[in-house]
Every structure is written in structure tokens, then in C-alpha cells.
Symmetry: C2
Subunit: 505 residues, 2 copies
């Protein structure tokens, strides 16, 4: 840990040391979670669950240490503190308030309900049987509502906003309503327009595999290097669900390989590399302190989507990448031309499944889930009506109706696993990515041309100095204003979609 | 955790739950240590060290919880406890006594001194410069002596025996002196005799590589399967120094590959598999409790050496393994005949380096270190005289003199890293392995013939039911008496060496 500026025995320095220990524990948990998802043999699951539960109890004990309140009160009066220390105190108070808001028996009941519901969900999804999930999901929802209410009471927020606030500090549903209503008006028309345009394009020949895993991995590693990932402080591995995890200065990403299709693993690696660059770029001098952490999920998702959607589905990138891919995969022919790859990576389709959706249709999936979870937490809609409401929303927003609940409201693990309030951050992230990339390219007009030469340094330098290095120094809105001159709105995202899918085809 | 037999709120059940939590933490540490040695990127070392230090502090806090003493006193009066519970109490008291014996500031000073000394040692070894190591090793020795004295005071042992006791519970230097003196009398003569015999053998042609890592790994995995390793509860990976580690039901082994020589990686895998079978075979019903743990280092080493030396350097095994190796490595010709491989695996040479030594000369390296560390801890010899004493011992025991200290007293990390009292367990393990294998083969005369068919089940079943399943139920001596009918002596080991290297060549 770096020494704080403040005197050795001040309340601030006590907090600094204490949260340094919390971070050391969180780093251990991060690596064990990574191991759980990448390396752990099946038979170890029971023992590992006990270790994780114990570490969570120890962490909670440290986060709710009774001395924290006194240290905070005293440190907040300390006139000797600098801007970073003050921002750190704000973050310490924020995370401490959240951690102490929920009674331990509610936390325990919720984690038991979640474990049971996740298990039930796996079978219910396979069977497309929402009724089988209803009792355990009702229990999870009830407890999430109670958790939201407990946090909301402390924070002066509605239950939903209090849950949202865990993933998106400072996020408010009134602001999201306005942004998402704007998009919901815009996207159905755009989607129809884009599909009509794409229907007129000639079909490209297929990219024919197999593409061996070792070659795909080598290509992924090469691209991670191109993007600026630091392999001295991270790794690339395989997991069922790709993620970016690990610990401070140990930022590990994963992907999964399909030998018939290298393109999705590659874009997955690029996406996770965007997350990882953010994690690797957080302020070293504050590492271990709450102020050093990533700002929130919308900014985090903006970093992955900026790389995946803004930078790496650009014609500039694909002109650079096409010969690299061709060489790595041993491909040849027209399907491997930059323009053909660009068409492949910008193909739009109305589908049922969120994780398979493209840049244009993805927000509809998110807006649907956001509206439904908000209504469910507010008790404005019976959970039993979810399948009907889901299908109606899909029809309105996307113009398709899932033939069953496996392809509908049972597809995501978020609700069974207690992740209520998370969904909107995906599309907030996409919008933020567009706004940041636009600001970056205005600030340095060489960013896109450099990407065309395989040089990401101008882009990454801008991101480092405008986003990564601040950690949680600024609140989300202020960070965006500092970087782009204004708060988040939908206009740049909308303009980006029109430009890419209509104007510049 | 399995529920104890005793009533839910009894002192025993409190201890049971408490040590279950200690185990959950130890399992987390085990996986993080494995990660540290196999997966961790270089840049994470600093953060990881902080996480490990914190977890050690938390573990020490749990192990010295003031309630343990009261629970122990009360539980030891509990007439309702069964034999396993009583054995568990004995182990709880043992580990608790050791853990509380050393004042925290001494523990901390020692770990600081060790960190510094290990770093100095790396350079000093490279430079063959003992003088450069002397100051920091003096400090480590001084603190080890103090730790030994503190533990010895509580246990009624000399400082050296108290250190030895950490690795070899119940081990006493008087007993080891007798065993090692016996060997030291026997081995120099045998070595000369064997070398004379082997000098008359015709030279075998070399096994010519390269042997690709992937093929070596596949062969290692195949042999692990043959030996009975459970891949549902473990993994095989790569590290600089091979080890068996991980956690309960997650027993991970490592090896390192040399593309010019597959034989050493393979025997390394077999050695670690012997350790792993012990770990995987510990009593499931007691898992998490001190009584479930492996008995001590000499028994542990006996399990690896029984596989590596007794079973897998036998002619029976090599007759089975030769065609398997040939096929896996794509080899052909006389060098790949079972008899040639047997000669290769039983070649004896007087060398300077312990880890490269063969079955006959290895004990001499250990006896030398044991005698020296005992004298150093007892302050019966100045540390500055170590190089001279080392070289004199090598001359007496092995008939060779190291040309420098890199090939002499600087070769091992044990002393710089605070592992005083560990060395004798290697040779106690080799002797124990011989005595156990002999007893097993007498109890079931099909064990060796079955190995010749690639069937390790008869051997492993004997080990499981006579050693593994007992964990720490018996003390070492009692375990050996229970399994072989008598305490450890050197006779079976000596007979084994004479038979393999003189009588049956």
C-alpha cells in the first residue's frame, strides 16, 4: 500500500490501512473466483464454496468494523487532506453505508434463496418451464425488494434505485427512463431501415474452418498486445462464460473457443481486453483504496464496448486486422477481405437472445428487461405475468415473439442470481462508449487512422488519461462531463448507428 | 463439514466448527499458493504477497482464538466422545500448542529475515559466494533457534527437536541419529560396490529427443490414471519446482518438462502422484479437522517414494511401462527396451547435487545436512565454518568434494527460507517407503505382479486402508506399527538396496 499523505496515526491513515486490508482480502477472493471459473476440478466445488463463504463473512466483518464510523467522522473534519483523500473518504462512506444498510439475516436469507433459485433456473430454462421457476424466483424477488428497501431507506432512494446504485453509483431510474424512451422511439424504425438495406447486399461466402483453438488463442493474444494489454499483470484463459476478473495488478480475462467460428471468440477477447485495460489503468498510487476502483458498471461496459463496437468494428480496424486474421487462421479468398469481414461484423438480425444480439438490436433487449425489473421491484406487476409481459415487450420493441420461455424470459441468469438493477448498465455503457469515442476522436484526429495502422496508442492514451487514471475520483456524471464536455445523452449513440449502418455502408 | 458425533453446543462441536473454518481458510491459502507458483503473472507479486500475509494473520488469529483453550479443557473431559473425536482433540491440542508457543513479534521478525535471506541467497548461489549470504543467514539461524527454543520450552524438547516436530510430529533426533548412523556406516561401502558393478555394464544407447511437451504431458496424465489419481479432485500443471499442493478434495500436482529428456518429468509426476494419492485418500468424514490431515512429512515422503522408487523403478513396472513410453514418445530401438530403461532408472553416480541424486547416494546428502543443521541450531558450530564442514562431510559420506559453494552448501533453499528440521524427513521417508512396500507385498503377493500388468489397484488399496484413511488418527510410530508390525528401522531399506543394486542386477 502507498502511504497516505496524512499523519501516521490520523483517522484517515487508520482508514487507509484498514481498507488496504479489505483490498488484500478482495484480491484473494478475486483470484479464487477466477480459479473457480477456469481451473477448479469439479470435485472441489463443495470445499470451495465453504472457503468463499468464509472469506465473504470475513470481508463483511472488516467492511462493517465499528471503528469505521468514528474514523470517517474524524477524517471528514481533517483539513489537511488533499483532493484524492477527500474523494477516497467519499467512496469509503458510500461503500460503508451500503454494506451496513442490510441486516445480516436478510443477506443470509438472500444468498440461500439465490443458490436455490439458480439451481432451479438451470432446469427450468432447459425445460422452458417458467411455472417451475416461479416459487423460487418469487422468493428472490421478495428479498431483493427488501434489500432495496433497506438500502433505499439509508440512501433516500426508491428500492429499485437503491439496487441500481450498487452497480451504477448515482444512477437514477428517472434519468434512465428518459434515455431509454428516446432510444425506444428511435430503434424500431432504424432496425427496419437497416434490415432493408442489408437485405439488398449480396451474400458473402462463409469463413470455412475448422479453426484450431491454439491458433485462435495466438490470434487473441496478438490482438490483446495490439490493444495495449499488459501481460505482466494478467492472463488469458478459458471459461464457459467469458469475463474479466482477478485482482489488482492481476487482471485476468477469459474467452471460449468454437472451432467452427473464430470471429466470436476474437471479438470476445477484444471486449474483455477493453474491460482489462480499464482495470490495468486504475491509479497505482491509490491501489487498494476504494477511490482506486472502477467507477461503475456503465463506465466499465463503456470501456469494453468502446473497443469491441466503436474501435474494432470500424472499417479502419478491419482493414488492419483482415490480413492478420487471414494469416493466423490460414484463410484465403473473398470471405477474408476487409470489407467482407466488416459486413460480417455489422450484420443485423432480430433475434430472441440478448447475448447473441448485434449493436442495433441489443438495446431493445435491455430496455425490455429494465422496464420489467423496475415494475417487479415496485410491485407494479405480478411476477406470474412476466412471460406475457416479456413477449408483448419483444413484439413492441423488436417485432418478434419468442416461441417459448427458454428463448424468452428464462434466458438470463441475472434475476435468479439476484442481479436486479444490473441490466440497464449494458446500454448505458453502449451509449457512453459512443460519446467517449466521439470525444476522443475529436480531441485527437489521428486516433482512427492510427487504428487503421494497428496502432492503438493514441486511443488508449486518451482513455488512460481521461477515464482509467481517475478510478472513482469523479462520480460518473462528472467523469463524463470532464471527458466529453457534457452528461450522457443518446444523440451520439444514435448518430453513430445511423452513420455506420445507413450512411457509410 | 461433517457434523461431529457430539451434541450441537458441546465444547467439542464448537471446536469442530471453529477448525472447519480454519480449514476453509487454509484451503483458500493452498489454492492461492498454487496459483502463485503456476499461474500468477509476474507483476502481481506485490499484491499477492499482501493478500497472503493478511490471510496468514487471519489464520493465526483463528488458531490462537482465546476460546480454544477453554473448549479443549472442557472437551477433553467429555466422556461421550469416540476414538476419532479423541484423536482429533489430541491433534487440536498439538497444533494449538505449537501455534501459541511463539510470540507474534518473533514470527514477524522471522518472516522478514526469511524474505531478505531468500533474495540474497538467489544471488549468492549464482555467484557461489557464501560470504555474501552469511549475514542474512546468521539472522535467520538466530531467529530459528529462538523459535525452536520457544516451542521447545512448551513441548519439553530441545530447540532442534522442536523445529523437527513441526514437520515430523513426535520425531526425535536421538532416534534419527541411530537410524542415520546405521545408514552412514552401510552406504559408502554399498556405493563403491554398486559403482564397480555398474562400471562393468555395457553402455545403453541414448533416448533421443526432442520429446514435445504435449506428448510428455499426455504420458504423465496416462500414468497418473494408471496409479489411481482422481482427476475430478485435482489437476496437473507446470511450475519451476514440482510440488503437490492445493486444497481438500482439490489436490494439484505440478512438474516441469525438458524436451531433451522425458524420463525425469515422468518420474517427477509419479513422485507427486504418490503424494497426491495420500492427500486424496485422507478420511472424508473428518475433512476439515486436524485429525484428517496427513500424519507428517516422513509418511508423506514415504508415499511419493514408495511410488517413485519402490513401485516404479521395479522391473515389473518398467516391463509394463516401456511400451507405453515408447508409444507416447514415438521411440524405437534397444534404448526403449524395459531392461535398458530399468538400467537408466537405477543408475548410480556420486554427485554434488541432492535433487539430482539417485536412491543410493541421496541419503548421504540428507545425513550431511541433518548433522550440520543440528549442530548449527545447538550453536555447536559457527555458521562461518559451514562451507568447510560441508565439504568435509561430502568427502566422508560420498567421496567427492564440491569445487565451489554453489555446488556445495549454497545449493538448497531450505535454510535461507527457514526450513530447519525438514531435511531428515526425506530419508526417513525413503526408509519408511521400503518398510511399507515390503509389508504390502507380503500382505498381498499379487501387488508386484499386478504392477507388471499396469494394475496399481492392489497396491493403492493397501495404502488406502493402511495409511491414507487414517489421516492423523495414529501418531507416526503407531501408524507404522499398525501397518508393518514394527517401528521404523533401516533393515528393510538396506535389504532393498542390496537386492535391487547387487543381488538382482
Amino acid at each position: 500500500m502507498s502511504a497516505p499523505n496524512s499523519a501516521p496515526n490520523s483517522a484517515y491513515s487508520e482508514l487507509h490501512a484498514h481498507f488496504g486490508r479489505v483490498a488484500a482480502l478482495a484480491n484473494a477472493v478475486g483470484i479464487l473466483q477466477w480459479d473457480n471459473d477456469t481451473m477448479m476440478p469439479r470435485g472441489a466445488a463443495g470445499q470451495r464454496a465453504e472457503s468463499m463463504a468464509l472469506l465473504h463473512v470475513l470481508r463483511h466483518g472488516m467492511m462493517t468494523d465499528p471503528r469505521i464510523g468514528d474514523w470517517l467522522a474524524e477524517a471528514e473534519e481533517d483539513a489537511s487532506l488533499g483532493a484524492w483523500e477527500k474523494a477516497n473518504l467519499r467512496e469509503v462512506r458510500r461503500v460503508w453505508t451500503i454494506e451496513t444498510a442490510v441486516p445480516p439475516d436478510l443477506v443470509e436469507a438472500s444468498s440461500r434463496a439465490i443458490s436455490a433459485c439458480e439451481m432451479t433456473w438451470r432446469q427450468a430454462r432447459a425445460d422452458a418451464d417458467f411455472k417451475a421457476l416461479l416459487p423460487s424466483l418469487t422468493e428472490v424477488l421478495k428479498l431483493q425488494r427488501a434489500i432495496g428497501a433497506a438500502k433505499g431507506e439509508k440512501l433516500g432512494l426508491s428500492a429499485y434505485d437503491a439496487l441500481l446504485n450498487d452497480y451504477e453509483p448515482g444512477g437514477r431510474s428517472t434519468a434512465i427512463d428518459a434515455l431509454f424512451d428516446d432510444l425506444a422511439d428511435f430503434l424500431p424504425g432504424l432496425t427496419a431501415e437497416v434490415l432493408a438495406v442489408q437485405a439488398r447486399r449480396p451474400a458473402d461466402p462463409p469463413l470455412t474452418g475448422p479453426f484450431p483453438v491454439a491458433a485462435q488463442r495466438a490470434l487473441g493474444v496478438e490482438m490483446m498486445g495490439v490493444l495495449g494489454y499488459d501481460f505482466e499483470r494478467g492472463r488469458l484463459d478459458v471459461s464457459t462464460h467469458p469475463f474479466c476478473g482477478g485482482a489488482d495488478n492481476d487482471v485476468r480475462i477469459t474467452t471460449r473457443y468454437d472451432e467452427d467460428d473464430f470471429t466470436s471468440a476474437l471479438m470476445g477477447v477484444i471486449h474483455e481486453t477493453g474491460h482489462a485495460l480499464y482495470e490495468q489503468g486504475r491509479p497505482q498510487a491509490q491501489l487498494g483504496q476504494p477511490v482506486s476502483l472502477a467507477r461503475g458498471m456503465s463506465i466499465h461496459e463503456s470501456q469494453s464496448l468502446l473497443m469491441e463496437m466503436q474501435a474494432c468494428r470500424s472499417r479502419e480496424f478491419l482493414r488492419f486486422a483482415a490480413p492478420v486474421m487471414r494469416k493466423a487462421m490460414g484463410g484465403s479468398g473473398q470471405a477474408w477481405e476487409a470489407e467482407a469481414l466488416w459486413r460480417r461484423y455489422t450484420e443485423v438480425e432480430r433475434g430472441f437472445i440478448r447475448v447473441d444480439a448485434d449493436e442495433i438490436t441489443y438495446p431493445a433487449h435491455v430496455i425490455l428487461r429494465y422496464r420489467l425489473e423496475k415494475a417487479l421491484i415496485a410491485d407494479a406487476m405480478p411476477l406470474a405475468e412476466l412471460p406475457l409481459a416479456w413477449n408483448a415487450g419483444m413484439r413492441d420493441l423488436l417485432g418478434v415473439t419468442p416461441p417459448n420461455d427458454r428463448l424468452g424470459c428464462l434466458q438470463d441468469v441475472h434475476w435468479p442470481s439476484g442481479g436486479w438493477g444490473y441490466f440497464p448498465t449494458y446500454t448505458l455503457g453502449a451509449m457512453t462508449a459512443a460519446q467517449l469515442f466521439d470525444a476522443a476522436c475529436r480531441a485527437n484526429t489521428d486516433i482512427l487512422p492510427a487504428i487503421g495502422r494497428g496502432d492503438f496508442a493514441p486511443l488508449v492514451n486518451w482513455l488512460r488519461s481521461n477515464i482509467h487514471i481517475y478510478g472513482s475520483f469523479y462520480e460518473t456524471n462528472d467523469l463524463l462531463i470532464h471527458a466529453t464536455g457534457r452528461p450522457l445523452d443518446a444523440s451520439v449513440f444514435k448518430a453513430h448507428l445511423r452513420r455506420r449502418y445507413i450512411e457509410e455502408i
